[in-house]
Amino acid sequence: MKQRNAKRVATVGVALTLATLTAACGGSSNEGSAPEDTTPVETTVGESTSVADGPDTGAAELRATLTGLLSEHVYLAALATGAALRGDTPGFTAFATALNGPSNSNTSDLVAGITSVYGAEVGKAFDGLWRSEGHIPAVVAYTQAVAKKDTAGATKAVNDLLAYAKTFGTTLNSVNENLPAAAVEEGVKMHATTLKAVIDAQAAKDATLTATTLRAATKHMDDLADAIAGASVKKFPEKF
């Protein structure tokens, strides 16, 4: 169960190792490559003609990993809410488990990633925050309220999510001063807002709108991943 986590973290670790070794081996003979050339070049560890991918490969890998995980977060959440709204209990359980289960889940992968950079204490704090009743359970509560046309319940769930966004921003800032609390809060609020739009579209049984809002909700996570990755690299440059 920990293999998926270990695999993902190992992927980052391998990428970092490759980046370090290729940088140490020096540049390639094709030094005329345009700066915009982002085509990955195959390298072999220890090969004297290997290409240096540049000093920010580790950072890019972290950003890519976080983007992937946060995008997956949105997709799994949408799958879970869609299942809930159509009354598919086994489907909801399956997607919710993949999203937020104690292990072998999107949440556990995110926690493993944060832990690998920030250490166990912060990793555990992130775990507690990410699994906070104000986050995913609030999304579920919103979905259930929408299904029952419970306006008060829906409003409470949204308020819980907004409060969570504030706490999340402040807490992340406390462990990494390069992450402004207000900016993180805004990012999480946007996440909640865009996911809410997906749920509303699902409840309205509007497939086209669901697809459109889902793309927007996923795309937004690029920004959040970029912010967290950038700040992490800035705080721990020696790790990248």
Binding site: T93, T97, G101, P102, K124, A125, G128, R131, E133, T167
Partner: protein, 148 residues
């Protein structure tokens, strides 16, 4: 600290010095003894019962610190809130399930939502192990008080 030592130098005065020294020592001991804790490193302890970590739990970085606290029967434990947002101190246990976490409060104590800089106190009058958790951060935030 001076000892009343007959080997101190001097002639006829020797017999008086040890007595004088003893008086001085006794006076010094009287001035230092009793009341609150001693002042170490320039920090006075204003309240001898507030031994800091022995009866207090800090809620910091989405955790109870310390997670496990041992106190004698009759102790009042204080939980102090440092984090942003809210926490609770709710007696009971949590259970990890496949898709989330469920909580089973036992009704012994529940602080309700505590905001930053707030606190909660509970007096433990019976021996035993009392588990508790934060109802907002159930997944990872739990602790226990061992009383006895």
């Amino acid at each position: 600290m001076h000892r009343s030592d007959s080997r101190s130098s001097g002639g006829g005065l020797r017999t008086r010095r040890p007595v004088a020294a003893a008086i001085i020592v006794a006076a010094l001991l009287g001035a230092c003894g009793g009341g609150g804790s001693t002042d170490e490193a320039g920090k006075g302890s204003a309240d001898s019962s507030a031994e800091g970590s022995s009866t207090e739990v800090e809620m910091r970085l989405i955790a109870f610190k310390p997670e496990s606290l041992k106190v004698p029967v009759g102790t009042t434990v204080k939980w102090k809130m440092t984090d942003a947002g809210f926490h609770t101190v709710t007696s009971g246990v949590i259970t990890q399930e496949s898709s989330g976490v469920s909580a089973q409060p036992d009704g012994k104590f529940d602080s309700g939502r505590i905001a930053q800089d707030g606190s909660f106190e509970y007096k433990f009058d019976a021996a035993g192990t009392f588990k508790y958790y934060c109802d907002i951060h159930r997944a990872t935030m739990s602790g226990e008080v061992q009383v006895g």
